[in-house]
């Protein structure tokens, strides 16, 4: 007899708790919009679509929804992947090479002798960094170009090429005698 009673009591308890949780479930709903913003803040904003999404914001939303992996952004490099892993509290993954490999920041430059003024690259540039008009000379605004390489393909005369972007000089980290154990990252 007491066996049945025990089962009844247990079922009653489970029922009460589940009911309480269900009721609470509607009152609180999770909001994930802020997550996409945080992820977007970590992405390098090159808008290069190498990750398979038409820009950084769509890729950020895809990660927030869980549809995209965190290692599809070559310009972000391994540091970018680690930052995303840190934010999402998940294990970091190696950069996925078939989306392209990580290169130092590049800037596009137009070879003015060969440019025919066809405006194809102007429409292709995701950040409107190319200045020019129909049959006029085109030029890349170096400060605005993110080095996303989207303008290379459409150019019929292939007159755009990539040069490394000028980097500010950073004074080197002091190296200390290796046999003295000051652990230096990477060294």
């Amino acid at each position: 007899m007491s066996m049945g009673l025990g089962v009844v009591v247990l079922v009653a308890m489970v029922a009460i708790i589940v009911g309480l949780l269900a009721w609470l479930g509607q009152r609180f709903q999770a909001n994930d919009t802020t997550l996409a913003d945080e992820i977007d803040a970590l992405l390098p904003q090159t808008q290069c679509a190498q990750c398979g999404y038409p820009g950084c914001r769509p890729y950020a939303e895809a990660i927030a929804q869980g549809e995209a992996a965190i290692n599809q952004c070559p310009p972000g490099g391994q540091a970018g992947v680690d930052a995303l892993a840190h934010l999402l509290g998940v294990e970091s993954l190696p950069l996925n090479e078939d989306h392209g490999e990580h290169k130092p920041p590049m800037v596009a430059v137009i070879d003015e002798d060969r440019c025919i003024g066809c405006t194809l690259c102007i429409n292709a540039c995701p950040v409107d960094a190319i200045l020019g008009a129909q049959k006029q000379m085109h030029t890349v605004i170096a400060d605005e170009c993110t080095g996303c390489e989207l303008c290379l393909a459409p150019c019929p005369v292939d007159c755009i090429d990539l040069i490394p972007a000028p980097r500010p000089s950073i004074r080197p980290r002091p190296t200390t005698d290796p046999s003295i154990p000051i652990r230096v990252a990477g060294a």
Partner: protein, 192 residues
């Protein structure tokens, strides 16, 4: 006066993690980063205290009158699971960032032996309602303090030149061992 003793003994003298060695898996798992450790400490404190109180209520007003004491473990697990889901819902709404950072370790509180341990120890030591609440809160304090301290230490250890074979969990365990050594100082305290 013995209330203070219960609190102190649960938090320091018979610290759940370092003396009773309960709740070791989140202790090592979550202590990699300070903010996740603090979040985990608060979440576990919330669950521990409530679990201690509710398990006592269920024990005295449901199981004992119906002489179903043998069901205590199962009942306690159900209560704790419910509480953990409650915490998870609450945290997903109020602190989504922390909820994401804790990730899998939040539902794992259900399987945290410290939580079940408190409930069972309360029953065995026949604590009154207030005593079991204090005992739960003391255990939570002890668990939280030690977890946050280890997290802070491990964060500092990432900058230390630990031998390669000891980096990560091994040095964490060595540190936990030395912490237990330090807590041995409290043995023989308050005769509890």
């Amino acid at each position: 006066m013995d209330w203070v003793f219960i609190l102190v003994s649960a938090a320091l003298v018979n610290n759940f993690v370092l003396i009773k060695f309960l709740g070791l898996c989140p202790f090592m798992g979550v202590s990699a980063r300070l903010e996740s450790a603090i979040g985990m400490a608060m979440a576990t404190a919330f669950v521990l205290t409530l679990a201690s109180v509710s398990s006592h209520l269920v024990m005295t007003y449901v199981l004992v009158p119906l002489s179903l004491e043998y069901l205590s473990t199962v009942a306690f697990i159900v209560i704790i699971a419910g509480l953990v889901q409650l915490t998870e819902q609450f945290m997903r709404h109020t602190a989504p960032v922390l909820h994401r950072v804790l990730g899998i370790y939040l539902p794992l509180i259900t399987s945290n032996c410290a939580v079940l341990g408190v409930a069972l120890l309360n029953a065995r030591q026949h604590h009154s309602l207030v005593e079991s609440a204090l005992y739960g809160f003391g255990a939570a304090l002890g668990f939280g303090l030690v977890l946050v301290a280890l997290a802070a230490m491990r964060q500092r250890l990432t900058l230390a030149d630990v031998p390669k074979s000891f980096q990560g969990a091994p040095i964490g365990l060595v540190t936990a061992g030395l912490m237990a050594l330090a807590f041995m100082g409290f043995t023989g305290f308050a005769k509890l």
